[in-house]
Amino acid sequence: MATLNLKINGRTHSVDVEEDTPLLWVLRDHLGLVGTKYSCGIAQCGACTVHLNGEAIFSCSMPVSSLASSDEVTTIEGLSEDGDHPVQKAWEEIDVAQCGYCQAGQIMNAAAFLDKNPSPSMEEIENAMNRNICRCGTYHKIREAVAKAAKI
């Protein structure tokens, strides 16, 4: 057991957890930030995507003890104040979701990608979004929404 200080969505949280606990389960079970989803647990599907210092990472495979106290984690709950991040707005406008379970991870991946590449080609969008699985098959709309967000 270790007491760790984590900077999440701009606030510092102190948690007592085993050091090997993945960031995903700290967020969900210990901090009540359940927007970040569990699906595969082995960094294959992207449902657990969060930002670590602006990079999209798989939180299911990131032991919480590997984070430094200066590291900044952003989850879907902290992406914007009022759900009005350009990616969220585009997702609403294009009406992307079916079941919706994977969409937080898709949004977080898209947001980190567009930060680095604000005017991507469709091919670049497809390459970037290929790491997130959507079992409902909303890929056409995800693609469209990322392109839309780039223009907002």
Partner: protein, 721 residues
Amino acid sequence: MGTLTKTNRRDFLKIAGTTAGGLFIGFNWLACDSPKMEVLTNEEILAQAKNFNAYLSISPSGDVVIYSPNPELGQNIKTSFPMVVAEELDADWKRVRVIQANLDTEKFDRQLTGGSGAMPHSWERLRKAGATARYLLVAAAAKEWGVPAAEITTDAGMIYHKGSGKEASYGDMATAASMLEAPEEVTFKDKKDFKIIGTPVKNVENAAIFTGKPLFGLDFYREGMMHAMIQRPPFGMKIKSVDDSATRAVAGISDVLTFDNSVAIIGNSTWPLMKAKKLLKVEYEADGLVESTSDHDRLFREMLDNGKAEERRRDGNVEMAFKNAAQVVAAEYQCPFLSHSPMEPMNFFAHVKENSAELIGPTQTPDRAASAAAEILGIPKENITVEITRLGGGFGRRLRADYVEEAVKVSKMINAPVKVTWSREDDITGGAYRPAVRYRFEAALDAEGNMVGYKLKGAGINAGNSTRQDNFPSGAVDNVLIESIDHKSPITTNPWRAPITNFLAYAEQSFLDEVAIAAKKDPVEFRLNLLEKAKANPVGGELGYDADRMIGVIKTAAEKSNWGKDPNVSQGFSVYFSHRTYVAQVADIVMENGSPVLKKITAATDCGMVINPTGANHQVRGGIVDGMGHAMYGNLTFEAGLPIQKNFDKYRLIRMKEVPQVDVHYVDSGFDPTGLGEPALPPTGGAVANAIYKATERRLRSQPFIEQKEFQDIKLEIRRA
């Protein structure tokens, strides 16, 4: 184009009885009871509105609360059902709030998601709910204003009387209207006057989904709740011994309990359970058949060659037709087991108390969950509440109550509220799969290339009847024999999106392509000729499908895809009728730098009236992506009763870059709406396989395509047009 479909009080029993889940609750929700209107006085009551007993509520502030009874798993029912109510109510959609209803067998019937059956079942009921409330609001205004109701009009939540210039909002009249007696009969709007139905309406839960609000079963937490994970046996095995010493030593683990051939690990949070479960040592021994995929290969051969199959349909003189045939075409097709793999793994919360139980979680069949819990606990079903969360996908897996039963048992054993979570590995290895099936097809052609005989024998592993004996081309061929045979396996199976037809359609539509080519006929013309024949002279009596509607989607798909017009495009055709909806698809492959590139799938759908174009496009595109993904990549194989693929690293799901362009078209046949959750999936595998044949002359007779030796040197690429 035939008469409109009608739903009446009697045939809802019939419709419900034919759905995948086969479950219905024998109470007719609105046809016999008019909706009672509850008046909500303020926001606080609105927020608690799910505890009300009414289906439709209107507050004096003008807010309309519509309860959506059916579980939402991405089919968008939580948006499309209220759209129908709001349309007939003439509500202002901006003032509509939608609340997921809990299980309530008094108020709702068929409170389940399965068989693409909700909309055809409820269409008239929903219209009646809205129309009845509108009638009462108008009647209240007529009474208050002293004018004839016939002179009153409504629009977007407002009531008008032109003669006197009086107007009021629905909120103004809500209290008075709720005191009036509901009429026996109400008049529905003319469909040409629809303002909400037929327009693109956004998912009512978008904001919550896109900001990460707790919506799903796995997101449910309660103070004092325990967590549990369960070790389940391989299929056909039972526990011989359990060594839980290392498991118990993990910090955060409070108990390890053996029950019903399973071992439950109890703890205070999820991660310790995941670690502890890996340390659990369970020895198993055979308890019946312990099967591997190699056994299934042998069983298929035995069943098809020597098995005593059940005759499902026989028309004409099949033996004579094949004896006299100028040409016989024969082929076998096979499809593997598949996992449902919704993105949200199985989970459920249960709190078993003295003489009651509280159940919360993602289920397609809340009533089955309640019944199962009542039986386990030996308490009346009325004492069990089921709160339906949003489902992170279902695909048929959550029609089964096994994961609810486990939560009930664990809560009872530990005498505490508990959430049972399945890891992805538990979810893939824990059972209830799409069954594996092999089909043997034979077709007899006369000298002119007409199909005069058709035989299909389906051999399944826990598939039940793996054929659909009355589907096309039955009715269009004079001599037909359809048989099925099934092997009872300990490997559990369950309806999987478009049960049976999700693989039968691929096999049948690929085989018909082979027959058309053998007959030297264009695959589209070949099907159209058969359908014209079925129309003119249906073999075996009434057809199991509407030939005109099937012709309609075939012609539309052919036209929209420029079928046969471009010699540089290799096209594959497929058409299927399932779940009351007709879908035809064309896949386009273009050769680029010597490689075949799958560019586009064009779909034509006849689902009757389209309620929500956005939602409909989602279902058609999603069904096609799903059908293509599993045809290309999906495979679950077994070794000694255990799946070899345990997670998404080996169990491959389709990704963004593997999806072609999908063009969606609808045929407006004038019929009432049918469901769309499933019907777009079945034709896809056949369309893709037939296009691959056209481009490469490689016939893919087994799924997944990427694992077939015929596919290895094709190097198929997928790139949007």
